[in-house]
């Protein structure tokens, strides 16, 4: 069992409603699922991930108000995921940026 309690009992807990996770857009559930799968297959633990998540949330919180986008838990989640993956060399930062730029330039309707 990939036990989320370690996240849920911390300030970095994912938003829930009546015990169920809340996703406001499909990409949020994908970002969640990617992390959950990596935890399930032992690439890192929720504890490891939590450290990066708390860091990402802190970074967001210390931004100047004018630079802050409206609060979005899963954008911090995504930042944490990118960071833990590059830190552990599971993902090459450059390759990732290239792919993201490539996807961004695709014609409308070709992204997921």
């Amino acid at each position: 069992m990939t036990d989320l309690e370690v996240l849920d009992s911390s300030p970095a807990a994912p938003p829930r409603d009546n015990g169920e996770l809340i996703f406001e857009a499909p990409w949020q559930s994908r970002a969640f699922g990617v992390a959950a799968d990596l935890v399930a297959s032992g690439h890192f633990t929720w504890n490891d991930f939590r450290e990066h998540l708390i860091e990402a949330i802190n970074e967001w919180e210390t931004l100047e108000t004018s630079e802050q986008q409206s609060w979005d838990y899963y954008s911090c989640w995504l930042t944490a995921l990118e960071q833990i993956l590059t830190t552990r060399a599971l993902l090459d930062g450059e390759e990732f940026e290239t792919r993201a730029t490539h996807y961004a330039s695709r014609p409308h309707g070709h992204d997921h």
Partner: protein, 202 residues
């Protein structure tokens, strides 16, 4: 996601949507993640944790007064008999709502909560505001959350700790006397077992 219909969105490599797609695809190609596993993990985390176990206990207590007495006098023993464990269940106490007495649960220090009975705590339960104010002005907080109590109802606030978790046994709603276990359990919301709401009416 209000920027969804913004045309600049499609060409923004910094958008979360694009970055997530790029990340997932790369990890799939490297064999680090699997799309169908991701699907089932999301599905499981979205739906498997919830207040159903607590709701069934409450429904059973409504149906069987003997079970209710045992639950109130020694919840730990009842949970053992019912084979409910896991989560953070250490010592559980059940507090019964009755005419003139309303119970509500908080954890003033952090977010201690009977996970195994109620799933995961809602965000507001963990908020500094709820934790501080429900002790100081419970009636007002409950009213803000949509629960108006009679002025002469005594409100008892129970502060959870890592040793003791509380479950509120809400009053059985009028008109539910003929219902069976499943239908009754469906009336028992998570919030009613924390004590910030009443059980639903049938």
């Amino acid at each position: 996601m209000t920027e969804k219909h913004d045309h600049t969105h499609e060409t923004n490599a910094g958008s979360s949507e694009i970055r997530t797609a790029a990340l997932e695809d790369l990890l799939v190609e490297k064999g680090l993640v699997d799309r169908s596993r991701i699907d089932s993990l999301v599905e499981r985390f979205e739906h498997d944790l919830g207040p159903m176990i607590g709701a069934r206990l409450v429904a059973k207590a409504w149906l069987e007064s003997d079970f209710q007495s045992r639950l109130v006098s020694d919840a730990d023993e009842v949970l053992r008999q019912e084979n409910i464990r896991g989560g953070e269940i250490e010592h559980v106490e059940v507090k019964v709502n009755e005419p003139g007495i309303h119970n509500v649960v908080v954890c003033t220090l952090c977010s201690c909560y009977p996970w195994a009975l109620l799933g995961l705590p809602p965000a507001w339960y963990k908020s500094p505001e709820y934790r501080a104010r429900v002790v100081r002005e419970p009636r007002k907080v409950l009213e803000e959350m949509g629960l108006s109590l009679e002025p002469d109802t005594e409100i008892r606030v129970w502060d959870s700790s890592s040793e003791t978790r509380f479950l509120v046994l809400p009053e059985q709603p009028a008109g539910s006397e003929d219902l069976g276990m499943e239908d009754l359990a469906a009336l028992v919301t998570r919030d009613s077992m924390i004590g910030v709401a009443k059980a639903l009416s049938p």
